[in-house]
């Protein structure tokens, strides 16, 4: 039996071609480590807004378009304001971010779903 290269992290044998040569055990464990994705049903006036970039001024809510802005994810988000959105409650958490119900204050007052993208992987 020829010697297959070993995974530097877990020591398992690495496939030569399958899975792009990635370690199946590490890929599997990485899947377990990730939290399940959350799906927020679109209903009523809620819209999905993604928050991730750097310029609050660029935050424009078109017709459900996704926009971005940077926030420091320090401590409790509920009660904080991000741009024109006031965060009311957390509704779910996925592998990529956290989803909140927020209140948009201008140009119209309405409730939106706000997705805050994590900048660092778990």
């Amino acid at each position: 039996m020829k010697d297959a290269p070993l995974c530097p992290r877990c020591g398992a044998r690495l496939p030569t071609t399958a899975l792009g040569g990635l370690c199946p055990r590490c890929v599997g464990r990485s899947l377990l480590g990730a939290e399940p994705a959350v799906q927020v049903p679109a209903r009523g006036e809620k819209e999905n807004v993604e928050v991730q970039g750097s310029d609050p001024e660029s935050l424009s809510l078109g017709d459900g378009t996704k926009t971005s802005l940077a926030v420091d994810l320090v401590g409790e988000m509920v009660g904080q304001k991000i741009g024109r959105y006031k965060i009311l409650e957390k509704v779910g958490e996925g592998g990529c971010g956290v989803v909140y119900v927020a209140e948009q204050t201008e140009p119209v007052r309405r409730r939106v779903a706000l997705k805050v993208i994590k900048l660092i992987l778990p």
């Binding site: 792009g20 990635l22 370690c23 899947l31 940077a70 994590k118 900048l119 660092i120």
Partner: protein, 250 residues
């Protein structure tokens, strides 16, 4: 139709068919194959067997059988299975395809021992075109000596799930003309990146460093979704996906 519209239609149709299949649990497929003799259901079962048979082969090899005997038994087992005889014995209302297949294989092997030489002679049936040479190569490459037959079976099964979803993701990227991006991102399926990885990746992808984490995260999430769908077909209902996930990848 203009080519791009035609492509879009084909693409949607394929996606629809694929989702239709993945939303069907194997137990329903087995029932349909048995009770109405549905050809579509039989084909679906055949696809499942065509995907997961390397686990069966690995089990037989790790029992100490030589490649030729393991090939012969794999084909004979699948012939019996696809003739749906085995489904009538199994409790199809619940359970996972993985457990069902291994249980059926054990019963088949026990019956096989009791069969006379004359009965065994009739078993050289080829029902599916299977690439035994490649799977033997893979078996020698990956089956660690310390593992027993059951563990070899489960490891190969888990790897098959991961590979199927990986290929699907690769195909999605290729369809969008993003083969190079897939090649850059795929390594993050096994390890979370560091800041310096992300900075380097941003340069290679021509995007800002800040937009790398969401890109990597969505990539991983999409893969996770495809793995879930792959697993979903093999369990009896959606509630079982998480526990099957745990068992396969722990």
């Amino acid at each position: 139709l203009p080519p791009q519209i035609n492509n879009a239609v084909t693409h949607n149709a394929q996606q629809h068919r694929s989702e239709e299949f993945t939303q069907t649990h194997w137990t329903q497929v087995a029932l349909a194959a048995m009770e109405d003799g549905s050809e579509v259901a039989r084909q679906a079962l055949e696809r499942l067997c065509t995907r997961y048979w390397p686990a069966i082969y690995g089990y037989l090899r790790r029992q100490g059988r030589l490649p030729a005997e393991a090939e012969d038994l794999t084909q004979a087992f699948l012939a019996e299975l696809l003739a749906t005889k085995a489904f009538s014995r199994a409790d199809r209302s619940k359970g996972r395809f993985r457990n069902f297949l291994l249980g059926s294989l054990r019963r088949f092997l026990a019956d096989e021992q009791r069969r006379s030489g004359a009965e065994k002679r009739g078993r050289n049936k080829v029902v599916l075109a299977l690439d035994f040479a490649e799977v033997e190569r893979q078996y020698l490459e990956e089956a660690e000596p310390a593992l027993g037959p059951d563990e070899v079976f489960d490891r190969r099964w888990a790897a098959t799930v991961l590979e199927a979803a990986f290929t699907e993701l690769e195909t999605e990227f290729a369809r969008d003309g993003k083969t190079a991006r897939f090649a850059e991102l795929r390594r993050f399926l096994s390890e979370p990146g560091t800041e310096s990885d992300y900075a380097a990746l941003a340069g290679r992808l021509g995007i800002s460093p800040q937009s790398v984490p969401p890109v990597v995260c969505r990539f991983r999430e999409r893969y996770r979704e495809l793995v879930r769908r792959t697993v979903l077909v093999t369990v009896a209902d959606v509630e079982e996906v998480d526990s099957e996930f745990q068992e396969l990848f722990r």
